[in-house]
């Protein structure tokens, strides 16, 4: 505001020196300059419009030629056949599958890391943790894809069972241990006599601990027995994609957590809450919508990723048997576009060419909607927090 006032004043003072005509010219030049600026700034909006327009224009002929039904309901993908079959259901399902898988892995980890960065780590450590995340975000997707295809897939194929077992032990053991402690504590809390309470608590701890160990061991041995037929499968891709989505989730949720003010934190501490309780019961609810926006952005990163899924998902268009089998090869929308265009661009104008644009349009619409949603959410959170 202040700077504009200053400007106005300077303009007025100029009036005494410069003739009316020259002032008019100056004003004209200023308007012209500003409109050029505006034009360049609206370039982005024009580009977005163009993207929508040109992808849609090339997608429509497909629906004119083949209709909507086959695309969404059939899973027979034989674009090179005569006549070709264009059932994309399995491909859409594959996209959904790896997106869900990577979300399940990356969201808990990403939120935990974001909390750690914003509330737990001292500033000096945070300075070193942030570049790690930035570097993870910077590694080109094709390098991740190469890793997934050349290093991770053979490893999964030959050592799949043991890897799954170790992952299960490392991930599940700490959480089960915690659950055992909490449950035995909660169950014995009703008992009045402190000495007996401790005894019963210890007893419960041992009983549940042994149970949990048996459970861990049982699931572990089942996992170890699994033989993975192909290393290029949905699990491989989900794991790699989750690491690619992590940086987005971490940085956006960290911003959301930082946006929650000091007052809320201090209020909670003053009431005697521990740091964990403060975070879980006060800060996370306040930042929840921002974190949701982060999750949406992370999901979009996984859904829109091309190279990793193209190289390491196996590219086989079918719905796995049973439907949740992550150890089977799948095919995704992005990989199909990338892989089929090479053969289809010689037949420009055919259904085979335009179906790829239909897939692109589907991706574009999904990303557009989720972007709008996440943006709304962030705006709303900012309003709520600033209103308090």
């Amino acid at each position: 505001m202040m700077s504009e006032d200053v400007l106005k004043e300077s303009g007025r003072s100029g009036a005494f020196i410069v003739s009316a005509q020259k002032r008019k010219m100056q004003k004209l030049a200023k308007t012209a300059g500003e409109s050029i600026l505006l034009l360049i700034a609206s370039f982005v909006a024009i580009v977005v419009l163009f993207i929508f327009y040109f992808v849609t224009v090339d997608a429509i002929p497909y629906f004119q030629l083949q209709g909507f039904r086959e695309f969404f309901t059939s899973s027979n993908w034989y674009p090179a056949g005569d006549p070709g079959e264009f059932g994309a259901l399995a491909i859409i399902y594959g996209s959904g599958m790896v997106t869900l898988g990577s979300t399940l892995l990356s969201v808990p980890m990403g939120i935990a890391a974001a909390i750690c960065l914003s509330d737990i780590l001292p500033f000096s450590v945070r300075q070193y943790a942030k570049p790690v995340i930035e570097m993870l975000a910077a590694i080109p997707s094709v390098a991740f894809g190469f890793f997934a295809l050349v290093i991770f897939a053979p490893l999964l194929q030959t050592q799949g069972g043991p890897i799954l077992m170790w992952a299960w032990w490392i991930l599940a053991a700490p959480f089960l241990l915690l659950a055992v402690i909490v449950i035995s504590d909660l169950l014995s809390a009703k008992i009045e006599d402190p000495k007996r309470r401790q005894q019963i608590s210890m007893f419960l701890l041992v009983v549940f601990g042994v149970g949990a160990l048996a459970f861990l061991y049982w699931v572990g041995s089942v996992l170890q027995g699994i033989e993975i037929i192909t290393g290029t499968n949905a699990l491989n891709v989900s794991i790699i994609l989750s690491f690619m989505a992590l940086p987005t989730i971490v940085s956006v949720s960290e911003d959301a957590l930082q946006a929650v003010g000091r007052e809320l934190r201090e209020g909670s501490y003053a009431l005697g809450a521990t740091r964990a309780e403060t975070i879980v019961k006060t800060i996370l609810p306040a930042a929840s919508s921002g974190i949701l926006a982060a999750v949406i952005l992370g999901v979009m990163r996984a859904l829109g990723e091309t190279m990793v899924v193209w190289m390491a998902s196996g590219n086989s268009s079918h719905i796995p048997e049973p439907w949740f089998n992550y150890l089977e090869a799948i095919r995704t929308l992005t990989a199909t576009i990338a892989g089929d265009m090479g053969e289809a661009d010689q037949v420009t104008g055919s259904a085979r060419y335009h179906v790829l644009f239909a897939m692109g349009l589907l991706l574009l619409v999904i990303s557009f909607i989720s972007n709008l949603v996440s943006e709304r959410i962030v705006v709303r959170q900012r309003k709520i927090l600033s209103g308090q």
Binding site: S3, V6, L7, S10, G33, I40, A41, S42, F43, V44, A45, V48, I51, V55, V57, D58, P108, A112, A113, C116, I120, A129, P131, E134, M135, L136, A138, I139, P140, S141, A143, G145, F146, F147, L149, P174, V182, D185, F243, T274, A276, L297, M300, G304, E305, T306, M307, M311, I337, A338, D345, F357, G360, L363, L364, S367, F368, N371, L372, E375
Partner: protein, 448 residues
């Protein structure tokens, strides 16, 4: 809940947070370590005489006299091997037809294996493809091929319930009772004398063009292509992005139109990269016809659109972080708004804007999906600067995919793939590290 449990929960909560950050760091290490280790192996490795011969014949590098001497030394042992082959072939002629047929069918693979190991055998026609003109150029590959030469790989399908198992049969055992049986232990013992392995530093990997679709030679065309594409994208996107950021920060008034522009920006940032590729194909190539088919220009334009939102955001942040007092001081001295922006705000924000630019440059260099349909080809030589408007180029990111998944000898040239990945990753990470470094300096400076 009693206090002890609450404390345990609190601690474990902290541990989970540390754990996830540790997982990220470990993931980074797990991904980078093999890439760096194997990638360095494409430049530093134990090269054989065949490698030096290849370099001399294809690129005209190396000491001729030294090579002649080495080849002569190798020839002594080669003569022995060739002699054994000749002796066996003569022996074959004396056998009964049936037995001869049987041995001949086994002898073919032996010759082929030997040829891949030490290079063309005398009496064969000169191969057309360069890959058949030389033996193994890398010692660790030669050792692999030696195993293939000594043992025949067979698959055990006897149990239909499990995957077929591979097992090895000694070739020497198959030729028991013939003169060829001596060949196998001889080759095994004297392979180092034939191939003369020596530690090699092959910087040419980065500066040579490829020979016979990356079987030999280096990756210069890809590095150059990546450079052209990324710099081209920056040439378009950087000025546009900075000007747009100036508009958003200094001129835009809050309102419906402005919020649409901002939404457009975040939408563009969220568009999947493959859709940019489709758009580039449909708009720049099929509609605008900036070039006949794929070209560096079309690829750069597509990449420019993709990195535009990042540049705008970074530039906006940089401009906003310039202290307000700078601007006010300038305006109070009677400078116009435009003058203030050009002489005070932009210079102060420049390091921040450059940081964003450097990060975007890295992103443009690493991205594959947008250039698949618009700029990338699998094989090709380095293009001149004049060709960027009309011809496509190989690029690191695309060729990593292509060599790893589509090349007919993908498993034979892992070292080239690793070398390419390492080159790409180090370009991108170096750009990012310099950005991080730059930003640390800025924040120090702003703190005073």
């Amino acid at each position: 809940m009693n206090l002890g449990t609450r404390k345990i929960l609190d601690r474990s909560f902290t541990a989970v947070g540390f754990g996830s950050i540790a997982v990220m760091g470990i993931a980074l290490l797990i991904v980078l370590a093999p890439i760096i280790y194997n990638g360095i192996g494409s430049v530093f490795f134990t090269g054989t005489l065949e490698h030096r011969n290849m370099l001399f014949n294809e690129f005209g590098r190396g000491d001729k006299e030294e090579l002649v001497k080495e080849n002569a030394a190798s020839e002594v042992y080669r003569k022995q091997i060739y002699g054994m082959l000749d002796a066996f072939e003569a022996e074959l002629e004396t056998m009964e037809p049936e037995k001869k047929q049987d041995y001949l069918s086994k002898y073919g693979p032996v010759r082929t294996a030997l040829q891949t190991l030490i290079g063309p055998l005398p009496g064969e026609e000169t191969a057309i493809l360069t890959r058949y003109k030389y033996g193994q150029t890398r010692w660790e590959k030669a050792e692999e091929k030696l195993h293939e030469f000594l043992y025949e790989a067979k698959w055990d399908y006897s149990n239909p319930d499990v995957m077929a198992k591979e097992y090895f049969v000694s070739r020497a055992a198959e030729f028991e009772g013939t003169s060829l049986v001596k060949l196998f232990p001889y080759v095994e013992k004297h392979l180092p004398d034939v191939l003369r392995p020596r530690f090699t530093v092959y910087w040419g990997f980065l500066t040579d063009s490829s020979v016979d679709s990356h079987i030999f030679g280096g990756i210069w065309p890809e590095i150059q292509g990546t450079f052209f594409l990324a710099v081209g994208a920056m040439l378009f996107a950087f000025p546009l992005g900075v000007i747009a950021a100036v508009y958003f920060t200094e001129y835009a008034r809050e309102g419906f139109f402005n919020s649409i522009l901002r939404s457009a920006n975040s939408t563009l940032a969220g568009v999947p990269s493959i859709v940019f590729g489709l758009f580039g194909l449909a708009f720049f190539i099929n509609t605008l016809k900036v070039s006949e088919s794929k070209s560096v220009l079309a690829g750069s334009l597509t990449l420019a659109i993709m990195i535009l939102p990042t540049i705008i955001r970074a530039a906006e942040e940089a401009i906003l972080s310039v202290p307000k007092t700078y601007k006010e001081a300038s305006l109070s001295l009677g400078s116009t708004k435009w003058n203030t922006i050009m002489t005070v705000i932009l210079p102060a924000a420049l390091p921040g804007i450059l940081t964003g630019g450097v990060i975007s440059l890295g992103r443009a260099a690493g991205e594959t999906a947008p250039i698949i349909f618009t700029a990338a080809v699998s094989v090709g030589s380095a293009i001149g600067l004049a060709d960027v408007f009309s011809s496509p180029t190989p690029a690191l990111s695309w060729n990593i995919y292509n060599l790893a998944s589509e090349h007919e000898a993908a498993a034979e040239i892992r070292h080239v793939q690793y070398g390419m990945v390492l080159a790409l990753v180090s370009i991108v990470l170096l750009l990012n590290l310099s950005a991080i470094f730059l930003r640390a300096r800025i924040s120090k400076k702003l703190k005073g």
